[in-house]
């Protein structure tokens, strides 16, 4: 069934460039783990190293406790879905899917059977005789998945498999891949640079930057409790406001309780402000569990399902806040150029350190 993967101390350099810098990750059996990061973060290299196409300089990759780091790719029995699908253009859909079975010497009858089942799993059974160039992008994507699962590998790797699809199809495929993961129960390592995709599909997300894992956690923790400014910045919209101890100074004042829970021990603490966590409150509002701040509305953008307000705070920090577009929420929007009061609930507030290494990624 599914296999666990234990990656330890993995390093890869190209000349003086360190692409994988001491990567250690434990992937549980049947887990859906996403490697997320900007281009050049090493996420694809890490995936290719697991597949065996990139040979690391040092480190260990164990599958169910067995070392595979020196094993040739074709002996690893790991399914892989490539970014551009890499379907064989000189074979039909059915032949593509049957190919790994043919390599394993599976007999004709069983081969046809399993090919059909794999195509059914991705809802492509009626396309078995089609040529690859007769398929749309989404259909190719499904065939590539069928080919990667048909030989029942315990691990399936996916390298930005949805990046070539349009938004609607991508969202549809996200749901389908997630469903497939649940029914197959295999370990999936998934690479993407699309943070929303990562949050939607994964059991856990590993955020990479410059060849290092910055954080590995559940989607909710990655989003709500990023370990540092880079992770917070990379995932979702975010603004950062400095915190002070005394009211009236630069930055925001927070309660002692909040300070004890969130600020203690963090150098140069910054309050993370996500657009959907910010409320608009009346200018006299003083509720105890809210952290208040005032700003000037610069822009009010109606987007159909959401309305987004761009605001500038007294210290020059620019932030976005968003709310739904029901009539009652639309009524009390600030006018452009007007001063208004915002607040974030202490429960929703999160503090990151502003002086961690490798900041100012943007």
């Amino acid at each position: 069934m599914a296999s666990s993967i234990e990656i330890a101390g993995l390093r890869k350099t190209y000349g003086s460039l360190s692409v994988l810098d001491d990567i250690s990750v434990s992937i549980k059996a049947a887990e859906f783990l996403t490697l997320l990061g900007p281009s050049g973060s090493g996420k694809t290299t890490l995936l290719m190293t697991i597949a065996g196409f990139v040979r690391p300089n040092s480190g260990s990759i164990k599958v169910d406790g067995r070392e595979i780091v020196t094993l040739a790719p074709h002996k690893r029995n790991i399914g892989m879905v490539f970014q551009n699908y890499a379907l064989f253009p000189h074979m039909s859909v059915g032949e593509n899917v049957a190919y790994p079975l043919k390599l394993r010497g599976v007999g004709r009858g069983e081969r046809d059977d399993r090919t059909k089942r794999a195509l059914v799993a991705v809802r492509m059974e009626q396309y078995a005789d089609r040529r690859i160039d007769q398929l749309s992008g989404g259909q190719r994507q499904r065939v590539a998945v069928a080919r990667a699962i048909v030989f029942e590998p315990n691990i399936i790797l996916m390298d930005e498999p949805l990046s070539a699809l349009d938004k609607r199809l991508r969202e549809e495929m996200q749901v389908e891949l997630k469903r497939l993961h649940e029914t197959l129960g295999r370990t999936i390592v998934y690479v993407t640079h699309d943070q929303k995709e990562a949050l939607t599909m994964s059991d856990r997300v590993a955020v990479l930057k410059a060849g290092r894992v910055r954080q590995i956690a559940s989607p909710r923790d990655i989003y709500d409790k990023p370990v540092d400014r880079f992770v917070a910045d990379f995932i979702g919209d975010s603004a950062f406001v400095p915190l002070t101890s005394r009211e009236g100074g630069v930055g925001l004042a927070v309660s002692e309780g909040f300070r004890a829970a969130h600020v203690a021990g963090k150098a140069d603490p910054l309050l993370l402000l996500r657009p959907e966590k910010i409320e608009i409150v009346s200018s006299s509002d003083r509720q105890p569990n809210l952290i208040h701040f005032d700003g000037v509305a610069e822009e009010v953008l109606f987007q159909g399902d959401l309305v987004v307000v761009h605001a500038t705070l007294a210290d020059g920090t620019r932030l976005k806040l968003q709310r739904g577009t029901r009539q009652n929420t639309m009524r009390d929007l600030p006018g452009i150029g007007s001063l208004f009061r915002m607040a974030i609930h202490e429960e929703d507030a999160w503090v990151v350190s502003g002086t961690s290494a490798g900041d100012h990624a943007r």
Partner: protein, 286 residues
């Protein structure tokens, strides 16, 4: 007002594109005058003797057994050269695609530089190497590997060696282009599905480079059929190909009709081959 102006401008543009089209007729007229008319004239010559319509030139090819030998030699030579070119050229080209970019550029330059050198110079170079008291025989004698010099020039062997050398670039360049267009992820995909490198090569890479292989081999074969300089010089009179016979008919016998008839037959054969390969190739990609 402006609408009327627009209409006038648009019609002026229309006139101009017609004029441009007319201008392009000129080069095609040149081609007709310089290439097509003489070719038709030669074709016409082949069907006449002393100005009278006649099939004598074609009849001679059937009656005179030496013509059969010439056709056989020509096709044997072209076939052998093509076969060796493919066997040497395919692995060489594959190796070039596997090299890192800088080295592969260097390797391609090594293929291109002889390609740019005069055909005549290269053929003479082979004569120097292969002749009776040439470089190769000298080495073999000095090394004690042979006691008397081998006959390598003025022979079918020498002609074959020289022609393979000259043909390799014609085969390697189109094949290289076709191999380069194969997505490297396809062989990786084959590995990930469990194919050994050998298996991946035969199941994926070779079939995908087949088109380039066929195109290159066909080009080589067709060029070999009409090859004149190398068989003439390295064959030393012992290898009579169609092109040599054509030259003899014109220069020695001043018989343009006989020469034209051979040329017509060669053109027809090449045409049929191209047609056959088009049909076969078309089926392969369907």
């Amino acid at each position: 007002m402006s609408l009327r102006l627009n209409a006038r401008l648009l019609s002026a543009l229309e006139t101009r594109s017609k004029a441009e089209l007319a201008l392009m007729v000129l080069p095609s007229l040149m081609i007709v005058a310089v290439v097509i008319v003489p070719a038709i004239w030669l074709g016409f010559l082949s069907f006449s003797v002393d100005g009278m319509p006649s099939l004598a030139h074609y009849q001679r090819m059937i009656d005179n057994s030496s013509y059969a030998a010439i056709f056989l030699t020509t096709f044997q030579l072209a076939g052998l050269v093509t076969a060796i070119t493919v066997l040497v050229g395919y692995p060489a080209t594959y190796a070039i695609t596997l090299l890192p970019p800088r080295l592969s550029a260097l390797a391609l330059a090594c293929v291109a530089i002889p390609f740019w050198t005069s055909l005549l110079v290269r053929t003479y170079a082979w004569m120097v190497i292969l002749q009776r008291n040439g470089i190769l025989n000298g080495w073999l004698l000095d090394g004690g590997l042979i006691e008397r010099p081998l006959r390598m020039s003025n022979s079918f062997f020498g002609t074959t060696v020289g022609m393979v050398h000259i043909m390799l670039p014609f085969f390697i360049f189109p094949l290289y282009a076709s191999m380069r267009s194969i997505d490297g992820n396809l062989t990786r995909a084959a590995y990930s599905l469990g194919a050994t490198p050998t298996r991946a090569f035969f199941d994926v890479f070779l079939p995908l480079s087949k088109q380039g292989l066929i195109a290159g081999a066909l080009l080589t074969f067709v060029l070999c059929l009409g090859f004149y300089v190398t068989p003439q010089l390295l064959g030393g009179g012992n290898v009579t190909t169609l092109s040599i016979k054509i030259q003899q008919n014109v220069i020695v016998y001043a018989d343009w009709g006989a020469a034209s008839a051979l040329a017509v037959v060669l053109v027809v054969i090449v045409g049929l081959m191209l047609l056959a390969s088009r049909l076969l190739g078309g089926r392969a990609t369907d």
